[in-house]
């Protein structure tokens, strides 16, 4: 083996998600992962909103790609992504926005949350090329279970981009083991049977199942769906390694939009994210 090849193999860069999750674990803190629908309320706001989320204390960000048929989303995110679509947002532009964000932030992991079809339409290879350059660390394919990742797993591995797996309350133990074997970065625990932003959570049930699932997992586990505020974030992450907050943050943005108050949008987002941060870091 020549020295050049040696350098290349040694240069395998650690995924930002592993870096961040490792550091949090060492500090005994929970991860805070807000979800932002890109292009809402305006494409021109998205980059500054991403920075505001980081300033508020987020550890990682989920970038929402709008899709015309968002089957897994509740009304709050549906409306936001519909507006984003009407204003011309698409997968290419989401990647542009990520690229722009990366110019001044190389640390915060970016997880793209999308339905499969926008990527299918772009072509998986072209998408991965662009995603590498945009500094995307992982992709959450809402409507692609592990059974359907056969053909894309290799290219994602090669690109160093994680394919995030989900576990739901309905996922059977045998399947959890299967998912545990291939999980990378973290596992997304869907806290309720329903769409994003739905009803109130049974915190005990979530903590109980998370504890059980974690026993078979090598990766961290984050809980999402139905987390409304700091208190529920805290309550639902007793066993998990962190939380994902979507609809509640989108509501903060849509309230500001309804009152036509764009000037303080970033500030409001930062304040809300910070309230989650404080709750998560606080003592019981």
């Amino acid at each position: 083996m020549t020295s050049v090849e040696n350098t290349v193999t040694n240069e395998k860069i650690e995924n930002r998600i592993d870096t961040v999750m490792g550091a949090l674990k060492a500090e005994g803190r929970k991860a805070l992962v807000p979800y932002l629908p890109i292009g809402y309320p305006e494409a021109s706001e998205s980059v500054s909103l991403l920075h505001a989320i980081v300033d508020g204390g987020a550890d990682m960000i989920e970038l929402g790609v709008p899709f015309s048929d968002p089957q897994a989303d509740g009304p709050v995110i549906q409306q936001a992504t519909e507006i984003a679509l009407k204003k011309g947002m698409n997968l290419n532009k989401v990647l542009d926005i990520a690229t722009e964000f990366r110019k001044t932030n190389q640390k915060t992991p970016l997880v793209m949350m999308t339905y499969a079809n926008p990527i299918e339409a772009m072509g998986w290879d072209k998408y991965l090329d662009r995603a590498i350059n945009a500094g995307i660390d992982a992709v959450l394919l809402v409507d692609v279970p592990p059974e359907e990742t056969f053909e894309i797993k290799q290219p994602f591995n090669k690109a160093g981009i994680y394919l995030i797996n989900f576990v739901a309350p309905t996922t059977k133990p045998a399947r959890v083991s299967l998912i545990a074997e291939q999980a990378q970065g973290f596992v997304y625990y869907v806290a309720l049977k329903g769409v994003t932003g739905a009803a109130t959570l049974n915190h005990d049930a979530v903590n109980g199942h998370v504890k059980e699932v974690k026993e078979t997992l090598k990766t961290p586990m984050l809980v999402g769906f139905g987390i409304n505020d700091g208190a529920s974030a805290k309550a639902v992450s007793q066993e998990a390694d962190g939380v994902i907050v979507g609809s509640a943050l989108v509501k903060v943005i849509s309230n500001a939009v309804e009152s036509n108050d764009f000037s303080t949008l970033s500030e409001k987002v930062k304040t809300f994210v910070n309230s989650l941060r404080v709750a998560l870091d606080g003592d019981n």
């Binding site: 897994a72 509740g74 519909e82 698409n90 997968l91 499969a116 409507d143 059974e147 576990v167």
Partner: protein, 399 residues
């Protein structure tokens, strides 16, 4: 093509089909797959279904030789498979009865369904009423407005009709909303999908419940004429009536199969629902198939005068039959379909649904390339009573 069994265990028809759903639904569709496999092998289930199909639906539906039509157009002898004579007016009831019996077996007392024009909704509401099950039908708000007759009919049957205000407020959005309901109520609820779409096992299961169309037609044709027909013609929206007719003939390679899509104002205008003719492969509503999408992978709202064909996807088995070259898919415009509807009225005294009229219009085109000694079967998938207002409106008459 050979003798392979399709789909595979995970619902793939070649590169199409599959299970593109969120993790929450996986256990439900796995359970449904198991329940279905058990029911399929259970003679008691099959017997109960056969009884309902005979006594409630009125099967077998006749295979009718449309002699005047055949003579008039000078082409092949045209046989109509009379699904329009079924209870509730279309082929939809075949599948609904099968799924409702499955729901009954699984002990689920809450039925949900999506509907576009309301035909599948009416069939589901009817079967739910018959079995005393709660029935919720999701329907795009735009379709609720356009199909007030069927909305009222579903309510009379005791169903709750929920208008869907999201997206383009049509069939695809109704399907999205029904999926959302299912995810939230997966323990108590059975989702009766109306066509050969959705995640596995639905495309297979709906096909199996509809294949009685082709099985009967094959037997009836052999009894009347001997041998096999030269061609089959059926309209394709999601594609359940077409796959029902085609499936038992797939291995009979001498039989040509034509799936007729809705060309709307003409495929070249972009205002159509001709997914296989003008779409491309993508992922929608739980499976990989041909879809109508823009360059960004967003679904395009289709257009057709017939609400039943107005769908931006198509069953994955049709996508596969197209790629294999086993079936040919063509498009018929709104105007051509309406003309064929009038032709069947005046020549045979039968009022077909506008959906089925697309198949009839293509049969007229085939007449020019075929001879009177040849024979074809056209699936008359539904009756046109529901379309009277639409037809009259085209004549400038408000009823």
């Amino acid at each position: 093509m050979s003798g392979d069994v399709f789909p595979d265990a995970l619902g793939h028809f070649g590169r199409f089909g599959g299970r593109f759903v969120s993790e929450t639904l996986i256990s439900a569709i796995e359970e449904l797959t198991e329940d279905y496999e058990k029911a399929k092998a259970d003679p008691e289930f099959q017997q109960e279904l056969r009884k309902e199909l005979a006594d409630y639906t009125g099967r077998p539906s006749p295979l009718y030789h449309a002699e005047r039509w055949s003579k008039h157009f000078g082409g092949p002898q045209v046989y109509l498979k009379r699904e329009d004579l079924n209870h509730t007016g279309a082929h939809k009831i075949n599948n609904v009865l099968g799924q409702i019996l499955l729901a009954k077996r699984s002990g689920k007392k809450r039925i949900i369904a999506e509907t576009g024009a309301g035909q599948h909704g009416v069939a589901t509401a009817s079967a739910a009423a018959k079995y005393g099950l709660e029935c919720i039908v999701y329907m795009g708000a735009e379709d609720v407005r356009r199909q007030s007759l069927n909305v009222y009919r579903m309510k009379l049957l005791g169903a709750t009709v929920i208008p869907v205000e999201s997206g383009s407020k049509t069939l695809k959005d109704a399907l999205n909303e029904a999926m959302r309901d299912w995810v939230a109520n997966v323990d108590t609820t059975f989702y009766v999908i109306g066509t050969v779409a959705g995640p596995h096992p639905y495309p297979q299961l709906v096909r199996d419940f509809q294949k009685i169309i082709g099985e009967e037609a094959k037997e009836q044709f052999a009894a009347k004429e001997g041998g096999l027909p030269d061609a089959l013609v059926a309209c394709v929206g999601g594609g359940s009536n077409a796959i029902g007719l085609f499936y038992p003939f797939i291995q009979d390679t001498s039989v040509k199969m034509y799936g007729v899509e809705a060309g709307g104002d003409g495929v070249e205008t972009g205002r159509h629902a001709a997914t296989l003719t003008a779409g491309r492969p993508g992922i929608l509503h739980g499976n990989r198939t041909y879809i109508l999408e823009d360059d960004d992978g967003q679904i395009i709202e289709p257009h057709s005068i017939s609400a039943g064909l107005d769908y931006p996807g198509v069953g994955p088995e049709h996508a596969w039959l197209k790629d294999e070259g086993r079936a040919e898919y063509v498009a018929i415009t709104d105007d051509e379909a309406l003309e064929a509807l009038r032709d069947l009225n005046s020549l045979e005294g039968i009022l077909p649904a506008i959906e089925s009229s697309h198949a009839l219009a293509y049969a007229k085109k085939l007449a020019k390339t075929m001879t009177p000694d040849q024979k074809i079967i056209v699936n008359l998938s539904g009756r046109g009573d529901k379309d009277i207002n639409t037809i009259a409106a085209r004549d400038g008459i408000s009823l």
